[in-house]
């Protein structure tokens, strides 16, 4: 039963990911008083791209085609850590957050290599900037998770969720607030959202992720887009599981699971609204202001870890 639920959660996160992206896009359109594309549009995009042929630059080696595959595989594996409907996940209790963080790094590493393989200036530029952003984002990501793990005395995602589940909203500590701020900023940076990166631009002065994948087309691009969507839904799922897991099913009865699904959808929608508001309300930061932004996140993470020691006395 737990395994079936775990598989179901992974499928939900992987298949539902483009929908979340579509909803965020639609919400942004509403906020900006545009009509916007239908929320199913990302599926249509992926479907279309999957049926095209792969265009490969003449300088490209095998890495070029391998990178999108590895990116997608590691993104799917990462979703196996996230408890969604009930507090269990395929890798959530045996694998800890360090494995999770490094799995994400795996896909990123290969995508950056894929960007370099095209032999153009744009790929290298995107990879170089991505390298900067992701290496700096690693610090608040890990520190935020460390703080929560120390509070919960457990390094697995399920263990951390368990700890939060046992408390109610008002009982949760300052550590969680600080860690949430740190991880929230990291989530924006990791998913290539404003104010770190603009997913809707192709201007070489500003683009990070888009520069890296500029040479990709067809099924390769579809895999990358899908992996990007999965990363967004994964981040949303992780934030919800760690900081607001209430409403998860405690038994495997259909009613409890149904209720949990409703709660999960509501919380995800709330996050989507928050993301749309942030993206519509904030301008993209200058490239060299991004380290300061991530530095703020790292400061939140550091404070969160220090507070865990203070809370113990």
């Amino acid at each position: 039963m737990t395994i079936a639920l775990g598989v179901l959660q992974v499928v939900l996160l992987v298949i539902g990911a483009p929908l979340l992206r579509g909803i965020v896009g639609r919400l942004k359109a509403v906020l900006q008083r545009r009509r916007g594309a239908p929320i199913w549009r990302p599926y249509a995009d992926i479907w279309k791209l999957l049926h095209k042929e792969d265009l490969v630059p003449p300088s490209a080696s095998g890495i070029f085609g391998l990178a999108p595959l590895l990116l997608l595989v590691t993104s799917i594996l990462a979703t196996a850590f996230v408890p969604l409907l009930a507090n269990s996940a395929l890798l959530g209790s045996t694998g800890d957050f360090i494995l999770l963080v490094y799995l994400l790094a795996f896909g990123r590493f290969f995508l950056a290599l894929g960007g370099m393989d095209g032999g153009s200036a744009f790929g290298g530029m995107g990879a170089s900037r991505e390298a900067l952003v992701s290496s700096l984002a690693e610090v608040p990501l890990v520190l935020g998770l460390v703080a929560v793990a120390i509070q919960a005395s457990n390094a697995s995602v399920v263990g951390m969720t368990e700890w939060a589940l046992e408390r109610n909203f008002f009982n949760i500590s300052a550590v969680h607030l600080l860690a949430f701020l740190a991880l929230g900023i990291v989530a924006l940076a990791e998913t290539g959202r404003m104010p770190v990166d603009n997913p809707a631009t192709h201007l070489e002065l500003t683009m990070i992720h888009e520069g890296m994948v500029l040479e990709y087309s067809g099924p390769n691009l579809a895999l990358i887009e899908w992996a990007g969507a999965i990363k967004l839904s994964f981040m949303a799922g992780l934030l919800i599981a760690l900081f607001a897991p209430w409403g998860m099913a405690t038994t495997f009865s259909p009613a409890a699971l149904g209720l949990a699904a409703v709660a999960m959808l509501a919380k995800t929608f709330a996050l989507a609204v928050a993301l749309a508001v942030i993206e519509s309300g904030i301008a993209k930061l200058r490239m060299y202001a991004v380290p300061d932004f991530l530095g703020v996140a790292a400061a939140f993470g550091t404070l969160a870890v220090i507070f865990t020691a203070l809370m113990k006395r």
């Binding site: 792969d54 490969v56 080696s61 594996l77 990123r108 032999g119 530029m125 170089s128 890990v142």
Partner: protein, 622 residues
């Protein structure tokens, strides 16, 4: 040599499993105890030496033939054999005398191997710095043994170990600091790393692989032997000192590495970084021991030891890969490489495995050991001491930054050297390395993969070794966890990869997008320098680049006839740390020169004064 190392490997592996002590005692030959015996710690390092030396020897079979004349080949093989044997001698020694003799042979043999490549002025200068620093390290180690002598009355390790428990605190501190400085210099912790980026690049590639992959580990062995086996830990500040050294070396090492575009220097700086990670593990272990948390100490120490083995594997793999690149393109300058993956697919694949391992991606060996060190720092929160409780979990952030920057650096290395278009004629016409070289690299890559995917088999002996060193009552449960979950992740990874591959379609080659303009050249690609620019900009204070921009003629800044720009990166260590020290030594020597008047009457006076003072001393002391 290959056969010898294989035999050694087999024998030591057999003994490690049986924990059987073998003794060899040629001490009748010398007045000092010159004994060898293998305990589990020595065996672990002996296995490390043999596992790395065998593939390196295989690689060298073909590499040496292609590069050196027959006379030099003989020297190289002789010295290489001496070098490996002396390293084995160091870890097998069971007395201070044997240890020091082998240690010195190791240093001199490596210096001799560097000279094989030639002895121009610049090389001699770098070699001199290496020899100087390695002998300063040796002096500290000799001093450490001599400090032990009045308490142990013998240089035999058993006597030293027995004396270690009852040392007065002052002697204990002196011993620890001497061992820390001596072995730290040889291991290359910042700021004692100065020789490392100078000596490694000028050695032949297989020798760099051995120096970086194995010789640095011998220094780690020495430190573990002193700090854990002889002294059995100490006050908590011992641990914090090691932690600070590790954090500084790790962070600065990787930052310096990113700024390099000479592949060998870059890898040398990554050795500094990885030694930093190893020292972080050792430091955490010492802190845990001081606070009585011995199971956590075992986890940290096991992580450090496993990282020592892992670094030996992937760093020698990367140096051999560099050797294969140099063999084919005659350069190790990243700015002149590019597109090698299509021209040297096997070298590229194994080099990529090395890159994935060094940055600690899951399913590669670097991950397992870094994971253990990560987890042990997390365990700091369980201590009751408030400094340790706050500081240890925060260091996880430092480790994360080191990991992130290392990943950035190896995107640069692999992306610039192996992907994209070739940046020079030599890279354009590169061809695959010969069979023996490929085989050597493939063996090391296989080692990285096996430990990464199936860590359980390797963790058991290493954890029990760490347990016995720190006296932990039980094995840390975390190691079981990682051993269990990793094979599953690997299986899921492969299954998913197979499923997702179905989505791929036929591909067609089209020109790279050049904004609609014709004539995209390889010079338009991002170079190593431009790739690292954002990181160098953000961490600008670390580098202190000396830039010089000359615009001619000066009165026309906007319409210049010529602009010249160059930036030189001198490290501050020479300027602010070593230069004053050297100046001080020279000044002191100049003062001492006043004693040397050249006048025979004055020398006779010195003799009389010495005699009188000795007689007085005897009179007063007796």
């Amino acid at each position: 040599m290959a056969v010898a190392t294989l035999a050694g490997c087999g024998a030591s592996g057999h003994s490690l499993l049986n924990s059987e002590v073998r003794k060899l005692n040629p001490s009748l030959l010398t007045p000092f105890p010159f004994t060898f015996s293998l305990d589990p710690l020595g065996l672990f390092f002996l296995i490390l030496i043999c596992t790395v030396s065998l593939p390196v020897a295989l690689f060298s079979v073909s590499y040496v033939k292609r590069h050196y004349s027959a006379a030099r080949q003989k020297w190289l093989w002789a010295l290489l054999f001496l070098f490996v044997t002396s390293m084995a001698g160091v870890v097998a020694a069971s007395s201070g005398f044997a240890f020091l003799v082998c240690w010195e042979i190791m240093s001199l043999a490596s210096a001799g191997l560097i000279l094989i490549e030639g002895s121009s002025g610049d090389r001699r200068h770098n070699l001199f710095i290496y020899l100087l620093m390695t002998h300063a390290a040796t002096a500290a180690v000799i001093a450490a043994f001599l400090v032990f002598l009045p308490h142990s009355h013998s240089l035999d390790f058993a006597a030293i170990r027995a004396a270690g428990a009852t040392l007065p605190p002052g002697v204990r501190i002196a011993l620890f600091l001497l061992a820390f400085a001596g072995f730290g210099t040889k291991a290359g912790i910042i700021p004692l790393h100065l020789w490392l980026p100078r000596a490694h690049p000028i050695a032949p590639s297989p020798v760099s692989a051995l120096m970086s992959g194995v010789m640095l580990k011998i220094a780690v062995y020495g430190f573990v032997r002193f700090a854990f086996d002889f002294l059995v830990g100490g006050p908590a500040w011992f641990g914090y000192l090691v932690l600070v050294a590790g954090a500084v070396s790790g962070l600065l090492g990787v930052l310096y590495a990113i700024a390099e575009h000479d592949l060998k220097r870059l890898l040398a700086y990554h050795s500094v970084e990885n030694i930093g990670i190893i020292y972080l593990g050792l430091g955490a272990s010492l802190v845990f021991m001081a606070h009585g948390a011995r199971v956590w100490a075992a986890l940290a120490l096991a992580g450090a030891l496993l990282h020592t083995l892992n670094h030996a594997l992937f760093k020698s793999l990367l140096f051999l890969g560099t050797g294969a690149i140099a063999d084919s393109t005659h350069t190790v300058d990243l700015e002149k490489l590019g597109g090698l993956q299509r021209r040297m697919p096997v070298t590229g694949a194994v080099f990529l495995i090395g890159c994935c391992s060094i940055i600690g991606l899951p399913l590669f060996n670097g991950f397992i050991s870094e994971w253990m060190i990560f987890r042990s720092f997390l365990g700091g929160s369980t201590l009751t001491n408030s400094i340790a409780q706050t500081l240890l979990p925060l260091i996880v952030g430092v480790l994360a930054l080191i990991g992130g920057l290392a990943a950035a650096c190896f995107v640069k290395v692999f992306g610039v050297a192996f992907l994209g278009r070739p940046r020079s004629q030599e890279a354009e016409h590169a061809s695959e390395a010969p069979l023996a070289m490929r085989a050597g690299m493939m063996l090391l890559a296989a080692g990285c993969m096996v430990i990464g995917i199936w860590p359980g088999a390797f963790l058991r002996p290493i954890v029990s070794l760490a347990q016995s060193l720190v006296g932990a009552p039980a094995a840390p449960p975390e190691t079981l966890l990682i051993a269990r979950v990793i094979p599953w992740v690997a299986a899921a990874f492969l299954a998913l990869l197979a499923v997702v591959s179905v989505l791929k379609r036929a591909k067609r080659q089209t020109p790279t997008w050049a904004c609609g303009l014709p004539g995209l050249t390889s010079r338009m690609q991002y170079t190593s320098t431009s790739f690292s620019k954002p990181i160098r900009f953000v961490f600008g204070r670390v580098y202190k680049a000396d830039r010089k921009l000359e615009v001619l003629p000066e009165d026309q800044p906007y319409f210049p006839a010529s602009i010249s720009y160059h930036s030189v990166r001198t490290t501050s260590y020479e300027r602010f740390l070593y230069r004053p020290f050297v100046d001080g030594v020279v000044a002191a020597a100049n003062q001492l020169r006043r004693l040397q008047t050249g006048n025979i009457q004055v020398y006779l006076l010195y003799i009389v004064m010495t005699l009188v003072s000795l007689l007085l001393y005897l009179r007063l002391a007796g």
